[in-house]
């Protein structure tokens, strides 16, 4: 019951709630500011893409997305081959890297001794830090000759009748680009999936084993489903990187704006064409068509992420309903 004046900071009972309330409010505002700045930057980016492509949008309209021509001399531009190349390379890269990455993550989280697992994880995370240009150089000097001399001839002999492996192979192709992308995105899948798998509570595993499951059944049927949200998150992180990857792709994809059924044919991606042609784009329409390509890539990313969210929502809601 001290009525003598005391320093504000020395009377916790009286000033406690007010001071921590003030600090709490400040912290809240700072963090809210940080979060909304991200949102504002994204909206600003979309706005700039929209206004920066006004000439192209007015001239081509929706035809921009359906046309396959890219002719800077006649000033006819269409996004279709680039969108195809971007989506095709990313999809094939995912098909290669997800089983690989998930398998590696399961090995590192569940089966490997802890020390081996830590060391391997460290090396894998180093892979994620290698600059994209290095991957491009490795791609064109090591991977492409390797594919040309060692991998593709027997592949064509065995599976050449399939449309996806038809046609001549010049080294640079959608296939080579997909493999380089797969190597680049696998570290993301491995490191995030491994963390998520390690975070699954030990009692889940023990409960499964106690109910008579084998080690594999416990891993595949209990631990992995428990971590599935995180694993899907890692896959979409990897996909986001694959969609936007520029330098490594442009060195090995062949830079030919065409749509072919064969993976062995050269192609082109949105990021690669923007990187290649932006500096020398001489006319306004040319430049704004490149900006509109950026807008298309932005839209593809938003759509794929939206579908991903929907997928996660429906599967987890289903899982929740089951339990």
């Amino acid at each position: 019951m001290a009525s003598a004046p005391v320093a504000y900071s020395e009377s916790p009972a009286r000033s406690g709630t007010r001071r921590s309330g003030g600090a709490d409010r400040l912290a809240y505002l700072i963090v809210l500011g940080a979060a909304s700045s991200i949102l504002l930057i994204t909206c600003f980016l979309a706005y700039q893409l929209w206004t920066g492509s006004v000439l192209a949008r007015h001239k081509f309209g929706w035809n921009f997305i359906t046309t396959s021509t890219w002719d800077p001399v006649a000033e006819q531009f269409g996004a279709l081959p680039f969108a195809f190349g971007t989506v095709a390379t990313s999809l094939v890269a995912l098909i290669i890297s997800v089983p690989l990455g998930l398998g590696a993550a399961i090995f590192l989280a569940e089966l490997a001794p802890r020390r081996l697992s830590d060391m391997l994880t460290f090396l894998i995370e180093l892979l994620a830090a290698v600059p994209s240009v290095i991957y491009g150089l490795l791609g064109i000097f090591l991977l492409v000759p390797f594919l040309q001399n060692v991998v593709v001839p027997p592949l064509k002999q065995a599976l050449g009748f399939l449309p996806i492996f038809s046609g001549p192979f010049y080294g640079v192709s959608i296939f080579s680009a997909s493999i380089v992308l797969a190597i680049m995105i696998v570290p993301f899948i491995i490191s995030v999936s491994r963390e998520v798998l390690l975070a699954v509570p030990q009692d889940q595993r023990e409960a499964a084993l106690a109910l008579g499951a084998t080690k594999w059944e416990s891993t595949w049927k209990v631990v992995v489903p428990h971590a599935s949200r995180g694993i899907m998150g890692s896959v979409f992180l990897a996909l986001a990187r694959a969609l936007g990857e520029t330098m490594a792709v442009t060195m090995v994809i062949g830079n030919t704006p065409q749509i072919k059924a064969s993976l062995l044919a050269p192609g082109y991606s949105i990021a690669a064409v923007i990187a290649n042609e932006f500096a020398e784009a001489t006319s306004d329409l040319y430049l704004q068509s490149l900006v509109e390509l950026g807008l298309v890539l932005f839209a593809i990313t938003v759509v794929i992420n939206g579908l991903a969210r929907l997928l996660i929502l429906t599967t987890t809601r289903g899982a929740k309903q089951q339990s």
């Binding site: 002719d71 800077p72 290649n276």
Partner: protein, 340 residues
């Protein structure tokens, strides 16, 4: 009295010292093709006049034209002369004319990888157009074989390789093809970036050269300087007079000599007259505004161009660029007076 004189002279010396030590920065941007030469020039110029710093960024001819039009740089550089529309746009935005000043001559050469062929191949204009149009598809096609008697050409497929990034080199190559092939001119045209009818694209000279080295049966085009410095073999091209010419300093200079230079210096010297002229050569230009408001910068730029036309030209052969013909130098020195 003595003290006053001393202090005034000291003050004046200090002011002069500060004024001369005040570094003057001039910025330029544009063509990548002459970048090695410009880099050396600006470096040497800075050594001669240490307080003058000219910064040049090789961002590409198109970007150079754009930036000088927007006024973000003091001068531009381009491998292809500005079009009439671009000149009008410059006048509208900056309120003055843009002047072209040729600096050096360069050339574009065909490089190839034909299994079993180690000698220099001869290419006719029709052969080059046909190959890049995708019409001539095999190395032992008569169009190529007839120009190379005695050379055993295999039946391999021809794989054309071209530049993926927009480039002055592509501009020069397509300018030549447009001149010698009406079909190329109507179907593809000339630009720093075009819709190639056939073949693979790789970014930069290094990309094209690497792809050609790795792909049997391929043919590409690179700058002469690049081919010489990387010791690549390149082919001969038939000129207007019917001779098969290999690109080198002499034949490139001969190409410039065979053309009358217009007043505004915007000229294409591909496919020129001249017995020894190499057909795929080009000037490269500095783009300088006629009226430069900043008098200091104007002096720096005008002085540099004068130096470039004198001592600068002597440095070009060492880097495999051909110097300007004497008549062009004289004409430029006169035109320099226009910059004010």
């Amino acid at each position: 009295m003595m003290r006053r004189i001393l202090s005034t002279t000291l003050g004046a010396a200090l002011m002069a010292g500060i004024a001369s030590a005040q570094p003057i920065n001039v910025t330029g941007a544009g063509a990548t093709f002459p970048y090695p030469m410009y880099s050396k020039w600006f470096d040497e110029y800075h050594k001669a006049l240490p307080n003058i710093q000219i910064n040049y960024q090789s961002v590409g001819s198109g970007a150079g034209i754009k930036q000088v039009t927007e006024g973000t740089v003091d001068f531009g550089a381009s491998d292809g002369p500005m079009t009439d529309d671009q000149i009008k746009e410059f006048k509208a935005k900056r309120g003055t004319n843009i002047l072209h000043f040729p600096t050096v001559l360069g050339a574009v050469v065909p490089i190839y990888n034909v299994p079993g062929v180690a000698t220099d191949l001869n290419f006719t204009p029709e052969a080059l157009a046909g190959i890049f149009l995708g019409k001539i598809t095999k190395w032992n096609d008569p169009a190529i074989a007839s120009a190379n008697p005695g050379v055993k050409l295999p039946a391999n497929d021809i794989v054309p390789v071209h530049r993926a990034d927009g480039s002055g080199t592509t501009y020069i190559w397509t300018d030549y093809l447009s001149k010698i092939s009406p079909e190329w001119s109507s179907k593809v045209g000339k630009n720093t970036s075009v819709k190639w009818p056939a073949g693979l694209s790789q970014p930069k000279n290094e990309g094209v050269a690497g792809q050609v080295k790795q792909t049997a049966g391929s043919i590409g085009y690179v700058e002469l300087i690049y081919a010489v410095q990387t010791k690549m073999s390149y082919g001969k091209v038939k000129n207007k007079s019917g001779a098969f010419i290999k690109a080198d300093l002499a034949s490139v200079t001969a190409a410039a000599a065979g053309v009358t230079m217009p007043e505004d210096f915007r000229v294409s010297i591909t496919d020129p007259a001249g017995a020894n002229a190499y057909p795929i050569a080009s000037f490269t230009w500095l783009l300088i505004p006629e009226v430069i408001k900043d008098q200091q910068k104007k002096k720096v730029i005008a002085d540099f161009v004068k130096w470039m036309l004198g001592p600068g030209q002597k440095m070009t052969p060492a880097l495999q660029y051909a110097p300007l013909p004497a008549a062009v130098v004289a004409k430029e020195e006169k035109a320099l007076a226009k910059v004010h």
